[in-house]
């Protein structure tokens, strides 16, 4: 029940992207509200940037508005929502006909403020060839945006073993 009650935006975009699309194209505040209402952690951080002038890392007022302004000026509120609709259809198909296991090397970083902290054995269960796993000290759902330095370090470490051809 709790899982169901947390996913209003996913459900709306997954089922009826056109309906919410009218809001996202016609009302700037409708668009901004919809985009801010993603997860509790990033919402609190972005709210603090606007209300208290205390941004968290790269989640500043200007960079948050850069992103919202891009959605507005390109009029992509409906078309981006349609990706959720496609994902919903894809998930149903994958349930009936699961895709093959990933054989390539996979790396994964858990950020402490993400929606959930995936334990290593969950990641290993989903990706058998896990070559890198780390728990970062800071960052949430928008990790690259919020903590670009930490995020870059994660990329360097995650792909280090794949730099030379002899790794393959």
């Amino acid at each position: 029940v709790i899982a169901i009650f947390m996913r209003g935006y996913i459900s709306e975009m997954g089922e009826h992207p056109q309906t919410i699309g009218y809001s996202l194209l016609d009302s700037p505040v409708g668009l901004a509200a919809w985009m801010l209402d993603h997860d509790a952690d990033s919402y609190e951080k972005i709210s603090r940037a606007f209300l208290d002038g205390e941004p968290s890392g790269g989640l500043t007022r200007d960079t948050v508005l850069d992103n919202i302004t891009l959605y507005w000026l390109t009029s992509t509120g409906a078309s981006t929502s349609r990706l959720y609709w496609e994902t919903g259809r894809g998930a149903k198909a994958a349930f009936k006909d699961p895709p093959p296991h990933v054989k390539l090397p996979v790396a994964y970083t858990v950020f402490p403020d993400e929606l959930f902290q995936a334990p290593r054995h969950w990641v290993k269960h989903a990706y058998h060839n896990l070559v890198y796993y780390n728990e970062a000290p800071k960052g949430g759902h928008f990790a690259a945006w919020e903590e670009p330095e930490i995020f870059s370090q994660e990329m360097r470490a995650a792909f280090a073993s794949l730099r030379n051809e002899d790794a393959a």
């Binding site: 209003g8 809001s23 409708g30």
Partner: protein
């Protein structure tokens, strides 16, 4: 100034007054709408279709007569009463037949008193609408708190059970010692709560949505074809038409910004309720083929009322209250309903509740019928048929025959 009037119990006469500037602003916003591209499918499966909404917006801005909402409401006796901190707006039409049965009817979302206006005549004046004098009702139609012309709750806690208590207080203040209640959608939830509370004076209820089954079907029989079909219909609704429900239940404020700022966003959100009513309303705008009372003008009367009263967010909050109340009610059994219950299943409703389900939830069921026509907005779509259902459903409780 009368010092004897107590503002806590006073009932005031009310008239709608829509400032022209608000209508000009609405027209301007519709004219400057930024439209998304057309949906990528040929049906409702991605939501409200562009052609439907463009036809609606065009009619709304250029042909719709904004004076008609004023006229329809102000031609009826309207009142307000402050109850439990909310200024409740209601229409009260007394039948010319003195011994008529008092009836309080509750609208739903995305409805308002507008969806019930056309049943007033058949209910209060049956002899002019194919009925008998002894089938008359005195009708009370309140606007839910946060909806239409009632004020918004200024605090959390206005779930349907609290609305039900306010309705009982309203009927008490109006001097109705013996009355019945009716509702569909959110109105069915209010009416169900009223039935469980069993206030003094309430002698029967009728509903046209089995609210409890939308949340939980585990205690309902699932053997017959009808029962299996109803389960499948609920499953379809919960997996393909449930986004608005979840958004309003969890984030009414978030969707509220668009509903107050964009007329087409509001119209789209309100049209996207259920498959049956969507296609009927789309047919009215796109093909000029309305189904019963779901005409372009009447549909826009309702949307315009939401816009002009700026109640998109406050109405959505009633779903949030419903979610909170449902969470509190887990593993608690409400007091049993002991008064007679009537129920009508309409064929276009989200699911066609079988008699076995209604009997399971209401052992005191005295009337059950499957109507020939009508959907989620049954009173709006088929007012004459709806009135006939209420005459039949409440027959057993007329004249104190039931106790």
């Amino acid at each position: 100034m009368s010092a004897a009037v107590d503002s806590r119990t006073e009932i005031r006469s009310f008239q709608v007054d829509i400032p022209e500037a608000n209508i000009d602003d609405l027209r301007r916003r519709i004219a400057t709408t930024r439209w998304p591209s057309k949906e990528l499918v040929d049906d409702r499966s991605q939501g409200v279709q562009l052609a439907t909404l463009k036809a609606l917006a065009d009619y709304w801005a250029t042909e719709y007569d904004f004076g008609r909402l004023n006229e329809r409401l102000n031609s009826l006796p309207q009142f307000t009463a402050e109850i439990d901190g909310v200024n409740v707006h209601f229409i009260q039409v007394r039948s010319q037949h003195e011994d008529a049965l008092p009836l309080i009817m509750t609208h739903g979302w995305p409805g308002s008193v507008v969806e019930l206006l056309d049943v007033i005549g058949p209910l209060t004046d049956p002899t002019a609408h194919g009925g008998k004098a002894e089938e008359a009702f005195h009708v009370v139609l309140p606007s839910l708190p946060g909806y239409g012309l009632s004020s918004e709750p200024a605090e959390v806690g206005w779930y349907t059970g609290r609305v039900a208590r306010a309705w009982a207080e309203l009927m008490h203040r109006l001097g109705y010692a013996r009355y019945v209640a009716q509702g569909g959608d959110q109105g069915a939830a209010v009416t169900d709560d009223l039935a469980h509370q069993g206030p003094d004076g309430l002698v029967g209820v009728h509903m046209n949505l089995l609210r409890a089954a939308l949340g939980n079907t585990s205690n309902l029989p699932s053997q017959t074809e009808e029962e299996k079909a109803a389960l499948e219909e609920i499953g379809t609704f919960r997996t393909s038409g449930f986004g608005y429900f979840l958004e309003q239940s969890t984030r009414p404020q978030t969707i509220g910004y668009a509903l107050l700022d964009s007329p087409v966003a509001l119209a789209a959100w309100m049209l996207d309720h259920d498959t049956d009513s969507y296609y009927k309303i789309a047919g009215a705008f796109v093909d000029g083929q309305p189904t019963g009372g779901l005409t372009r003008d009447r549909v826009l009367d309702n949307i315009t009322l939401y816009w002009l009263t700026a109640t998109g967010a406050s109405a959505a909050r009633s779903y949030w209250e419903g979610g909170q109340a449902a969470a509190r009610a887990v593993r608690k059994t409400p007091p049993a309903v002991t008064i007679p219950v009537g129920f009508t299943t309409f064929p276009g409703e989200i699911f066609r509740a079988p008699r076995s389900w209604v009997e399971t939830l209401y052992p005191t069921l005295v009337y059950f019928n499957e109507a020939e026509r009508g959907g989620h907005f049954a009173a709006w779509e088929e007012p004459q048929l709806f009135a006939e259902e209420l005459r039949a459903a409440f027959k057993p409780v007329r004249n104190g025959r039931s106790s």
